[in-house]
């Protein structure tokens, strides 16, 4: 297994190099001078030249790329033309917000998707199964941004139950930073009202982000459990007198979770991409929103950093998924 993990980590490095090459050269193909935009219309040619030199943009492309890669190895993602500060500072501010949102979505997906898929499979045609089918159909058909806008309209505008966006209310101060996750940090600070506020602000964006992946997981679990329930070993388990719960959860679900775990790992990529739209709708200050602003501002360094970080997260998560198989199915070896 050590060899397996080492090989996958080596693969991660290759993936990141490939992504950095592609995004670097693609972003430099865009016919616009970001330094000119950054410096403004009144900047003299001397100022432009100075800024280009300071930012290293007067070097040949290949040297710029090597300098950039060298910087990344030291945690330096360059300078953001959008925020006028190191990209690593921006990532430090924005990434925890996305992690918090994504984790909340994952909790919802797993907590709802798995039980719903199981119940739907065990009692096909029941009211729960009907609800699950509506959920799975709408989840894959309706775009997240539209759903988000409708959710704001209903829960904020009409009912006034939930806030329209942001991580906290305008007049609230964030908790002291430990993890960057406001829910965790407020608990660590013993600030229960702030914890409650951060949870309330998390509800709508997390639900909207989770919705699409919830649909996919529910369907996958349902299909997996349905198939497992027709297998010989399940019949044997029933014949042995095991309870229904034991048969379904201990045997059928466990086997159905193997392909479901694969799907869930792939859904991480969807969640990261979906976060971009959800963060925009709910003014959630995560890397998705940062990426949107950076793209619109032609901020090469920020765009590349977000791409590389997202790719790294995706590969690491899928490595974790592969390792999780060992827990689920002892027959699997690497």
């Amino acid at each position: 297994m050590t060899y397996f993990v080492a090989r996958r980590l080596a693969f991660l490095v290759l993936v990141l190099i490939g992504i950095s090459l592609i995004t670097f050269f693609l972003s430099h193909v865009v016919p616009a001078d970001p330094v000119r935009l950054f410096a403004g219309p009144r900047a003299s040619p001397a100022t432009i030249a100075l800024l280009k030199h300071q930012l290293g943009l007067d070097q040949p492309l290949w040297r710029q790329y090597l300098t950039y890669i060298g910087g990344i190895l030291h945690g330096d993602f360059g300078y953001s033309l959008l925020s006028h500060r190191p990209v690593s500072d921006d990532l430090r501010d924005y990434l925890p917000a996305t992690i918090e949102l994504t984790l909340a979505a994952i909790v919802l997906i797993l907590a709802i998707g798995i039980p719903l898929g199981v119940v739907s499979a065990v009692w096909p045609g029941s009211i729960v199964d009907q609800i699950a089918r509506v959920l799975t159909t709408t989840g894959v058909a309706i775009p997240a941004f539209w759903l988000g806008l409708m959710a704001q309209l209903v829960f904020f505008d009409l009912l006034g139950w939930l806030p329209e966006g942001g991580r906290l209310a305008a007049n609230a101060s964030p908790p002291p930073t430990v993890t960057g996750l406001y829910t965790v940090d407020s608990l660590l600070a013993g600030n229960l009202p702030l914890f409650a506020q951060s949870v309330v602000h998390l509800i709508l964006p997390a639900v909207i982000l989770a919705y699409g992946s919830l649909a996919v997981l529910t369907r996958q679990v349902r299909a997996g459990v349905l198939e497992a329930l027709t297998q010989e070993y399940v019949r044997t388990a029933r014949a042995k007198g095991l309870t229904r719960r034991r048969v379904v959860v201990g045997h059928a679900l466990r086997n159905a979770l193997v392909p479901a775990t694969t799907v869930m790992g792939l859904q991480i990529g969807y969640l990261l991409g979906g976060a971009l739209l959800v963060e925009d709708v709910f003014s959630w200050p995560g890397i998705g929103r940062y990426a949107t602003l950076a793209t619109l501002a032609l901020d090469y360094n920020a765009v590349m950093a977000v791409t590389i970080v997202a790719a790294g997260i995706y590969v690491v998560v899928n490595l974790a998924v592969d390792l999780f198989y060992l827990v689920l199915d002892p027959r699997i070896t690497y």
């Binding site: 616009a32 006028h84 500060r85």
Partner: protein
């Protein structure tokens, strides 16, 4: 805090009123809460986010908004005046040597937010830095001062002398520019200087000012919270907000929602329909003053628009009423050239186009532009200019000219506008908006219509070139007041009527929505999209 001694700028005047000691007494009193009536928190919902607070480089209105509240300049514009200058960090000044020597007396007992005391060394450092750092804003004072280390000197702990090569009537208004000429904490910046950057990296995201508010917290692209600086030299007598929250809310519908629900107190940059609707709402008020912004569509002087007759034709074809009273619902007024109504040099009797499609058709014929010709316009999302493009398209269609509209993001658009593409590769029209740094028609016009301001040097994206305009601008740079005004009138006529540089679309109203009980808001036509929160109260 009201300071005595209002001063009208006059290049001939070399004496002025002394400033009372009230300001000094109040600066001592400012450190105690006596007389302070705490108004709590005021929240502004804004569309942009502050990025760079360094006065030597920042040029976003959202950053200027912060600097205006955390910093001070030597002098200030009085209230909503574009020309009257009042003391700020300078308590008084003396102009001599035929207008070439300025001696400023610096206010004593002023603290930076770091706790350092302001002296003349900080003033000299700040002004020299703005020029010598060579960053975005070095152009402003470079116009007046070519050798800052020699020309700007400290002649005592609280006196600064500026020597000019020629008399400069606009030096004082330039020094009142809140985002370029902010006086910064030299000790702190020197301590954080890295590789000769004049402390730029530090100043980008730290508070180095003397203003009434200081930064308490900053979640980038989300919210910035300012709290009152107890030692503010202007004092805290009377009603003042102790906390200012500036929230970034890019969607105008969300900003409107926040005001309507009472979750914010001030916002701006909504649609005309929003302003109209909110005017009727209880508890809110809409103010719509006019600033110095002019929105226009620059003509690319090439191909079909090479001839001034073709450009005049478009100016005649456009339906100004449809834009101003239709699309903008009255939240705009006619622009008659690059010089706005409130700016020095505006000619109220200048030529104004009246929509006339017949005349437009004749002029196109005269220019050799046949029916069926296609013109192009690149644009980015902007309420009035989007509408203007569509109105123009409809008007031109009636006389057989096709206008192709291409939408893009603002960054991509700016890349084209300031890029190095020649006129042959540019669209026929390029919309934009502009306002000056101070009350000077030269400052307003030079970047737009001077042939030397063609990209990549400036914003003359249409490569407009008229030798008469270049000559006039050359004179205007140093002309005395009466000549300056006369030259500005001539320039206005050339670039509007004779040889149009642009379709001068409108001057948009700088409308804001505020809570009805919010008082003390003073709009200045030169300080657009910013708010001075210190005098505001319930």
């Amino acid at each position: 805090m009201i300071l005595a001694g209002v001063l009208a700028v006059n290049p001939v005047t070399i004496s002025h009123a002394a400033i009372s000691s009230v300001s000094h007494a109040l600066s001592r009193a400012g450190s105690t809460p006596h007389g302070f009536v705490n108004q709590g928190t005021v929240t502004l919902a804004t569309d942009g986010s502050a990025a760079d607070l360094d006065p030597a480089s920042e040029e976003l209105a959202s950053s200027d908004l912060i600097d205006r509240n955390i910093g001070n300049t030597l002098v200030d514009l009085k209230g909503s005046s574009v020309s009257q200058v009042v003391p700020s960090l300078a308590t008084s000044w003396h102009i001599s040597n035929g207008g070439k020597r300025y001696v400023f007396n610096i206010r004593k007992g002023v603290y930076f937010h770091s706790g350092n005391l302001l002296t003349s060394a900080d003033v000299v450092y700040s002004l020299v830095r703005t020029i010598k750092a060579g960053l975005t804003n070095s152009y402003l004072l470079s116009r007046f001062i070519s050798n800052p280390t020699k020309q700007i000197r400290s002649t005592g702990k609280y006196t600064v002398e500026i020597d000019l090569k020629h008399p400069q009537q606009f030096l004082l208004p330039a020094l009142a520019d809140s985002y370029v000429c902010m006086i910064v904490d030299s000790k702190t910046l020197k301590a954080h200087q890295v590789k000769g950057d004049w402390g730029h990296a530090w100043a980008t995201s730290h508070d180095v000012g003397t203003g009434p508010y200081t930064i308490k917290s900053w979640q980038h692209n989300q919210q910035i919270t300012l709290v009152r600086f107890p030692k503010y030299w202007g004092g805290w007598n009377g009603k003042h907000f102790s906390k200012v929250i500036i929230q970034t809310v890019p969607e105008s519908s969300s900003r409107r929602e926040l005001l309507e629900r009472g979750n914010a107190d001030v916002t701006f940059d909504l649609t005309p329909q929003d302003f109209q609707a909110m005017k009727k709402e209880k508890g809110l008020k809409v103010v719509q003053p006019y600033g110095t912004e002019v929105d226009y569509m620059q003509y690319t002087e090439y191909g079909p628009l090479k001839s001034p007759y073709a450009r005049q034709a478009i100016s005649y074809a456009f339906d100004y009423n449809a834009l101003i009273n239709g699309a903008m619902k009255g939240y705009a007024r006619r622009a008659n050239g690059p010089i706005p109504h409130v700016l020095l040099g505006y000619n109220p009797h200048g030529f104004q186009y009246q929509t006339n499609l017949t005349k437009a058709k004749q002029l196109f014929q005269k220019a050799g532009v046949k029916p069926g010709t296609t013109l192009t316009i690149d644009e980015y999302p902007s309420t009035d200019l989007d509408a203007a493009a569509e109105i123009l398209q409809a008007q031109l269609a009636q006389i057989g000219i096709k206008l192709q509209i291409k939408q893009m993001t603002e960054a991509t658009y700016n890349g084209i506008l300031y890029g190095s593409e020649p006129p042959s590769k540019r669209p026929s029209l390029m919309p934009f908006g502009w306002w000056p740094d101070f009350n000077d028609p030269y400052d307003m016009a030079v970047t737009l219509v001077d042939s030397h301001s063609a990209p990549p040097t400036g914003a003359n994206g249409g490569f407009y070139k008229d030798a008469r305009v270049d000559a006039l601008l050359n004179q205007m740079e140093t002309a005395p007041r009466a000549k300056l005004i006369a030259d500005a009138h001539k320039l206005q006529d050339i670039v509007t009527r004779q040889d149009p540089a642009a379709l001068w679309v409108c001057e948009p109203a700088q409308a804001s929505v505020l809570r009805s009980n919010l008082k003390g808001y003073v709009f200045n036509p030169l300080e657009l999209q910013t708010y001075n929160f210190y005098p505001m109260h319930h």
